[in-house]
């Protein structure tokens, strides 16, 4: 493997997944073979990442520094997600393969150095996203997928328009070392890229798809959305916009930064306020995600810096892992309830599986930013950075919004410890080994990042 080039590794990854897809047609053992092949592909790719620190295809594609670090983390999460998905049903194996393709899109997005590669990679992720929603087999999945597809397509077209403006402004599509000839066009292009980022990440007011999609997708697929869409798209857009804003005329830059800040604060407030009144826990997660996108977007307003990149990675990974943990545990609780989406599935959860209830409480408290959890360390790091940059009003506003957000996080914990006779009669929740493994990893990461954040990713 050491002698294989990056391209060969990618091809192996694609070939194994294609073989997995084909082997689904084999009777009886088809899904096991497909699952095995997908798993091998993911593990092989993960191992490949440790061979070198830089992967370059051409000027169009480079993976280096923090991008490789991020990819290693996402790749590990990908392997874990495949493990937890299991091979018990055809749907799960199918979504495992879709995840692999989404992951591939993520790899290309991360390394993209020019707008066409960027666009193709982004669309690959989006297409798989539509498919994951559509194949979720829930009551309104297809309707949600169509809505998502239509809105996504409109944004894709707008992004292409932005690319055209960018071409007009810089005379090329390269994202590295471009010389800006026309500042007006450049500012319009950046504005459109910001809009695309807001849509893809689900920021207010471009969040219309997020609640529908989240509530009509299976929890496993929802988890995937977190660790691939949020982490990779979030990281790529934020770091890219940071760099592109450097070349922007100060006047336009100021306007664009102001717009981002307004969107960030509005997202934080909107997500947290609307999250409280939701009845379905998937929708609560959706709006919590809108709020967290707000926190994240503020990073666009800061100057690019390697340390900041590491901090962004740590925030994205930790947030996504914790949210994934919440989703996976909710999934376990939901399975034995009649209405799987109802927000009362957690009632008396503590009496049905103490371990799971405690892990879920820890995850939720971490998302709420309680000290000694990763959520606190990340929040502290991020907000201190914002204050350092002088964004005092914006940061204070986001802080205030997070007070509102605490309400729905605490509701989860409160439900778990509520004694509800009807719910207590439900059978004890069993946990598979792979699920326990993932829980252990998430718990470990929450506490290690919470207690020793500086140990990772150069945080000081």
């Amino acid at each position: 493997m050491e002698n294989l080039t990056f391209v060969e590794n990618i091809l192996i990854f694609i070939a194994l997944n294609a073989a997995a897809l084909l082997s689904l047609n084999i009777k009886k053992v088809g899904k096991q073979i497909a699952y095995g092949l997908s798993l091998i592909a993911a593990v092989t790719f993960f191992c490949m990442l440790y061979q070198r620190d830089v992967f370059t295809l051409s000027e169009l594609f480079t993976l280096d520094g923090n991008k490789v670090l991020l990819l290693k983390l996402v790749s590990l999460l990908n392997v874990l997600m495949i493990l937890i998905n299991g091979w018990t049903s055809l749907e799960k194996v199918r979504s495992t393969m879709l995840i692999s393709y989404m992951f591939m899109g993520g790899v290309f997005l991360l390394g993209a150095n020019e707008l066409i590669t960027f666009y193709v990679a982004m669309e690959t992720i989006a297409l798989v996203g539509y498919a994951l929603v559509a194949t979720s087999d829930l009551e309104n999945s297809r309707e949600a997928a169509v809505k998502y597809l239509i809105q996504g397509s409109v944004v894709s077209v707008i992004f292409l328009l932005g690319a055209a403006f960018y071409l007009g402004a810089t005379g090329g599509l390269s994202l590295v070392g471009a010389t800006v000839a026309n500042q007006e066009l450049y500012a319009i292009a950046l504005g459109i890229f910001i809009l695309t980022a807001c849509f893809k990440l689900g920021a207010f007011p471009f969040h219309a798809w997020i609640a529908d999609v989240y509530s009509n997708v299976t929890l496993g697929n929802l988890a995937v959305n977190f660790f691939i869409s949020k982490i990779i798209i979030g990281f790529k857009f934020i770091t890219l916009l940071q760099v592109l804003l450097l070349e922007c005329d100060p006047h336009f830059k100021d306007i664009l930064i102001r717009i981002v800040q307004v969107i960030a604060v509005m997202s934080a407030f909107y997500g947290n306020i609307i999250g409280i009144v939701q009845g379905q826990f998937k929708r609560i997660i959706a709006y919590s995600s809108v709020a967290h996108t707000g926190y994240m977007l503020m990073m666009i307003c800061m100057n690019p810096d390697e340390l900041l990149e590491k901090q962004l990675i740590s925030y994205l990974v930790i947030y996504s892992m914790t949210a994934t943990g919440v989703i996976l545990i909710l999934n376990q609780f939901a399975q034995l309830n009649e209405n799987k989406d109802s927000s009362d599935i957690l009632k008396s959860g503590f009496y049905r599986n103490k371990g799971l209830a405690i892990i879920l409480s820890v995850c939720v408290l971490s998302l709420g930013g309680i000290p000694l959890t990763s959520g606190f360390a990340m929040k502290y790091m991020m907000f201190t950075n914002f204050f350092k940059e002088g964004f005092n009003i914006e940061t204070t506003s986001i802080f205030i919004s997070s007070v509102i957000g605490l309400a729905y996080y605490i509701r989860f914990v409160s439900d778990l410890f509520t004694e509800n006779e009807e719910k207590m009669k439900l059978p004890t929740i069993k946990t598979r080994f792979s699920e326990s493994l993932v829980h252990a990893i998430i718990l470990l990461s929450i506490f290690t990042f919470g207690i020793a954040p500086s140990l990772f990713l150069g945080l000081k």
Binding site: L372, Y380, T384, S414, S454, L455, K460
Partner: protein, 494 residues
């Protein structure tokens, strides 16, 4: 530095973990383990105070660098004030264990685990002198109490625990915002996020009106502490929490947790933001006075005895906040004394309410009446504690409230006069409570067969009654413990 500090400090936590591993079936052994633990905690708290070379100065007990946590330094230190509250905390633990000895629950291990964890977190807050350490323990306190109320509380425990957690944690987030802001400033200044006293002082946060940094940071901290105390109008969680909390929760909440808000002001606000304190002193004094009157009037109209005690707490805490912000040394001393006095009388009232409730299964005062006839021992002890709470001369309540009013009078006469009306109101509602409970005819048939409190049950009430009188007659026993620190809390102690 105390080499054994960490071991001493971790004792309540280790004890809490011990409950997790204790055998579930042997209730008596678990209770005995809790009792021993409570006395151990009390003993080492007293020893730690006794070992202080000078209670008037902060003595560093332990310091450790956290290179892995943003390169911060955690310092644990103690002076007369923190030592006093540490002892009060441990003392209340003993009271809780004894007063709830007969508790019937199938989650006994969880119950004691939560109580000991809570005590540990309170100790951590009292000893931390870096803002981060304080904040971490401050937040850590919320979780055990949240679960204690949520699991062992009354009918509406879910709502009460939710509201308590949300409001206090919400306040904490504002404190965190202020900390992040100061950290960012510290980083610009020193290249480090650390926020110990020296660093905070070197930040020199500018004060030039409401929107200036010192003012905003002051209010962020103050709102967090107002919510904890709680000061009117930030009090709405307290009556619910008290009413729904199990007795242990109510005792610890009233006895020590509310005082943490005041302690926060004394340790991290008053010495650090002198200009803002001066600028907003009158506003806070008025809030304190309003709290005194509002709490008293609201207590007056309550029919639920626990709610009455809860509102009386709001009234009493008004005196403390007033004394602390008057910045008059006599009043500050009185306020700190009142913290201890309230930490004795209100837990005593809650213990009394617990005994009433376990016998009558109601908290409605109209369902009591004439209980002195069937529970004379209880009636006498309950009266002594009630007298302490209503600030009868020669009881601890009187000393603190008198000192606060006298000291505040020198600063703001109107506020002092308003507060004095509180002293007049407290006998009204507390005597009404006592009258409806113990005096009069024994109207309710079912109450005629009530048994008086046992010797074990009487023990905590006897101790609290004795302290009520003793501290009323000889307040120096407490004031002498923290006297040297007053200067730190009245002037810019840094």
């Amino acid at each position: 530095m105390d080499q054994l500090f960490i071991i001493k400090f971790l004792i309540p936590l280790l004890w809490a973990i011990g409950f997790v591993m204790a055998p579930k079936q042997n209730e008596k052994a678990i209770k005995l383990f809790a009792l021993i633990g409570s006395f151990v905690v009390l003993a080492y708290s007293i020893k730690m105070y006794a070992d202080l070379p000078d209670p008037g100065q902060l003595t560093e007990l332990f310091k450790f660098d956290m290179p892995l946590f943003f390169n911060l330094t955690y310092t644990f230190a103690m002076d007369g004030l923190s030592g006093l509250l540490l002892i009060l905390n441990a003392f209340l633990l003993v009271m809780v264990v004894i007063a709830t000895w007969e508790i019937k629950t199938d989650k006994l291990r969880l119950y004691y685990f939560l109580i000991f964890s809570l005590i540990w977190a309170v100790n951590g807050s009292l000893l931390a002198t870096s803002i981060y350490g304080f904040y971490i323990f401050w937040e850590a306190m919320l979780i055990p109490l949240f679960i204690l109320v949520g699991v062992f509380g009354g009918e509406n425990r879910r709502y009460a625990s939710f509201k308590f957690f949300l409001m206090t944690a919400g306040g904490s987030i504002l404190m965190l915002a202020a900390m992040c802001y100061m950290s960012a400033m510290a980083y610009k200044l020193n290249g480090s996020y650390d926020l110990n006293y020296e660093v905070i002082k070197s930040l020199n946060l500018r004060y030039s009106g409401f929107w200036s940094p010192q003012s905003l940071v002051f209010w962020a901290f103050s709102i967090a502490f107002f919510l904890k105390v709680p000061v009117f109008p930030f009090h709405s969680w307290l009556p619910d929490a008290h009413v729904e909390a199990p007795t242990a929760g109510s005792i610890l909440l009233a006895g020590i947790l509310l005082k943490l808000g005041i302690y926060g002001f004394l340790r991290f606000v008053i010495p650090v933001y002198p200009q803002a304190v001066d600028a907003y002193r009158d506003i806070i004094l008025y809030l304190g006075a309003i709290g005194i009157i509002y709490g008293a009037l609201t207590a007056w109209v309550q029919k639920d005895i626990k709610k009455l005690v809860a509102f009386s707490s709001i009234s009493h805490m008004g005196f403390i906040i007033m004394g602390v912000f008057s910045q008059n040394p006599f009043a500050v001393k009185g306020a700190i004394f009142q913290m201890v006095a309230h930490g004795i009388s209100t837990p005593g009232l809650f213990i009394g309410v617990h005994y009433l409730y376990t016998r009558t299964h109601t908290k409605k005062m109209e369902m009591y009446g004439g209980l002195a006839k069937v529970m004379p021992r209880f009636a006498v002890l309950f009266f002594l504690i009630t007298a302490g709470s209503m600030a009868v001369p020669m009881t601890c309540g009187f000393v603190g409230e008198f000192m606060v009013i006298a000291g505040t009078y020198e600063i703001n006469k109107v506020v002092a006069i308003l507060a004095a009306t509180g002293i007049m109101l407290s006998p009204i509602y507390l005597l009404k409570m006592y009258h409806l409970t113990a005096l009069g005819e024994l109207h309710h048939e079912e109450n005629k067969s009530l048994s008086d409190i046992s010797v074990l049950e009487a023990a905590p009430m006897i101790v609290l009654s004795v302290l009520t009188i003793l501290l009323g007659l000889y307040p120096k026993l407490v004031t002498g413990m923290f006297e040297g620190t007053i200067n730190f809390f009245t002037h810019s102690g840094l």
